[in-house]
């Protein structure tokens, strides 16, 4: 009996801890949503990321254009279309991957429509499982395709512009002022502060829409 009570208590404590964690996460998320600047801590220092201003945006566009030109001139870099052709010769069919992704997408759609009209618990559970399995399948294929094309001129240009943006928008709190953290892009690229860089890109993804074609 005592053992049962103990187990019950442990379970209740776990539940309470989970609820507290969720509450904390909600508060943290509300703080991120309330403003177009996101503050965070790394080590004992306070940092923030903010949206680039118009001048910085022009600077980013400039950097993107220069990188694009540099890669286009370099024969060791290929466009996505060229990579797709190269892979085809080696027996990897990216077009087929895309068709498969589309097929899974359509299947998910059909299953979702069935789920919408289903009311019995067992049926709902089964359809939800089916959708999750299909989503996993779709995700794996998408990742595989993205990885294969990650060295393309388009993706490399995007990664470079994203890194440059991240470097521009990161600020550190100095007393009551916000100052740029890295003195130049080179220092940013050489930084080995994994915690800071990880957090920077995590919050970057919550701040800025990335448009890559």
């Amino acid at each position: 009996m005592d053992k049962e009570k103990k187990q019950e208590k442990v379970l209740m404590a776990k539940e309470a801890l989970k609820a507290m964690q969720e509450l904390e996460d909600s508060v943290r998320l509300e703080n991120i949503v309330k403003d177009n600047k996101i503050e965070f801590k790394s080590g004992d220092k306070s940092f923030r990321v903010r949206k680039p201003n118009l001048e910085e945006q022009q600077e980013i566009d400039d950097v993107r254009r220069k990188k694009y030109l540099e890669l286009v001139r370099d024969d060791s870099y290929l466009f996505k279309k060229q990579w797709i052709e190269t892979y085809k010769k080696k027996g990897i069919d990216i077009d087929k991957m895309e068709t498969d992704i589309k097929r899974i997408h359509d299947e998910i759609r059909r299953t979702l429509l069935r789920l919408a009209k289903t009311t019995d618990k067992k049926g709902i559970g089964e359809l939800k499982d089916q959708i999750m399995k299909l989503r996993d399948e779709q995700y794996i294929l998408s990742i595989e395709k993205t990885d294969l094309l990650s060295y393309s001129i388009e993706d490399q240009t995007h990664i470079h512009a994203k890194s440059y943006t991240a470097y521009l928008i990161l600020e550190r709190k100095e007393e009551d002022n916000w100052v740029k953290h890295f003195k130049d892009f080179n220092t940013f690229q050489k930084s080995d502060d994994q915690d800071l860089i990880g957090k920077l890109f995590y919050f970057y993804d919550r701040l800025i829409y990335s448009e890559v074609k």
């Binding site: 996460d25 403003d35 177009n36 789920l115």
Partner: protein
Amino acid sequence: MNFKLLQKLARSNKWQILYNRAKELGTLRLFKNDMDLTKIQIWMLYFLEMYSSLYTDLAMNEDFISEEVIQDDLRCEAYLLYRKEKNKKENKKKFRDKDEKITPNNIPGVRFMRKN
């Protein structure tokens, strides 16, 4: 980006009241900034409107919507897709009916096509 928590926040009483009052009054601000919204703020607005419309459907006793569905992200997605398809079908039917009404005595309507 993981939307689970953002969706939970958007369907919460607090944010639904704030959002609906902000829509009615037009002066209430949801965020500190009025413009230059971040990606997460845009998604938050999307989810706020989505759940607001779902609660409206629930109040109107629409088919296949319940509190249980609203609390379940995947079932919400399913319901929204179903509603979209249903509206598409109804709109098509409405346009067909309208076409039939403006062509009296079963004289076929004339459609002007743009020349390529």
